[in-house]
Subunit: 258 residues, 2 copies
């Protein structure tokens, strides 16, 4: 099986021109087939602020009402996605920007209202692997925006980490998949103030222990849960690292159950 | 050769939910391969107004500065494009939203500054037909946003009528192409106040005569020039009509030189 590398980037990386340019150069240098998954939350927040639309967050997750859905559709599906595509094309990479609605790649259900009503947020139900596989085999590089659809005409805001994990998992039958989640630190840290304290390999039992001890907390918990789910679904190598490290593949490797 | 129908819609049609729903139903009912090309200028104008960004137009053409380029990238590439894609997917059509940057489909040059500096506006230089042909032959329905790129990393705002004409023209070697430009009237009218005065067939000599007489004027002139160019480039049938007529194919047929 051919190798396929998934890179998930978010936050500052895709939203500052200089940093994005460096990321795209590093991405281009990765050998073999690849897929880029991006976020764009900061730009969405900025646009909402400029439009006088209130940003509502619960535990770091965005509440997506009708107005906010339009904003994320514009920012994720338009601005961020197409700037990345144009940037990769300039570097000779045959990029194609996609949401989960395009070619019905990712179908999701609107999240049921529980303690929190997240609004138009999607929980991934089905990844349509074949059209993606076909594109990748034609040396096209998919650039995935964090939007899915319900197949009833409704777009849904969907967590980019989840999309990366689910789509990477769905392609394990076709490729030998590596999934690299980029974030601000060099990896999962034993001491969040010491960038040298990277945990090189993390299994689920130790993860749970670190959560109980408060060593791993906040937004890292759902991020790592996505990473463990991807490792369990057959992704050969799941890594959490800094964007500047994607060529070297250092950072924290997330291990499946033995 | 298989039949391929291009539908170009703009203005109100794509921007009012009820009208868009009707258009998509009519579009779905067209037999054979098809492509949808859309505009979105009104939504871009509205977003610019809300953001306090000045809309500058010269002869009905938008001046696209850096801020406006971001706005059209969000509105055309994101909001309008992905809503259409999700709407078509709900109707069982395997739609794929694309800009000219995606798969390097349409390369353009930034328009040289002459009497007017249009800013980041692209003049189409090259249509990469093969990847589109391959998608269409897989029964995927491309939905084209009016954005191109310069292959140097820059997106460019590009007239949707021009994109429809150029891409339709580029596919004439692969399909028997019909191109339908939708606008507000039932066709080109001899008397703009009489919707019954549709000119059924129009050749270039008569067009020039009508322009000289003031019967055809304003925004219809560049629209018809695009239509004649498409007819000359081998598009089998070029029609100008109302969106509600696309299934019947009535309206004004634009004829190539004898």
């Amino acid at each position: 099986m051919d190798k396929l590398t998934f890179i998930k980037v978010g936050g500052k990386i895709v939203e500052e021109e200089r940093i994005l340019r460096q990321l795209l150069q590093d991405f281009v240098a990765i050998h073999g087939h690849k897929v880029l998954v991006h976020g764009g939350g900061r730009s969405a927040t900025q646009l909402a602020d400029r439009l006088g639309v209130k940003n509502k967050m619960v535990d770091g997750r965005r509440i997506t009402d009708e107005e906010m859905l339009k904003i994320v559709t514009m920012v994720y599906g338009g601005l961020v996605n197409k700037q990345i595509v144009a940037g990769l094309q300039a570097l000779g990479v045959n990029a194609l920007g996609l949401t989960g609605a395009d070619m019905n790649l990712i179908r999701s259900d609107k999240r049921p209202v529980g303690n929190v009503d997240y609004g138009f947020v999607g929980d991934v139900k089905e990844v349509n692997a074949e059209p993606l596989v076909s594109l990748i085999q034609q040396n096209i590089v998919p650039v995935l925006a964090p939007l899915t659809h319900d197949k009833q005409g409704r777009l849904l805001n969907t967590n980019a980490d989840t999309i990366a994990g689910k789509v990477a998992g769905a392609l394990t039958g076709y490729f030998k998949v590596t999934l690299i989640y980029c974030f601000e630190k060099k990896g999962v840290l034993l001491d969040e103030n010491d960038n040298q304290s990277v945990i090189s390999r993390l299994n689920h039992a130790t993860f749970k222990q670190y959560v109980a001890q408060g060593i791993i907390r906040g937004g890292m918990i759902p991020k790592l849960e996505n990473a463990f789910e991807a490792a369990e679904s057959g992704v050969e190598k799941v890594i959490i690292t800094q964007a500047s490290e994607i060529r070297r593949g250092t950072g924290t490797q997330i291990l499946p159950q033995e």
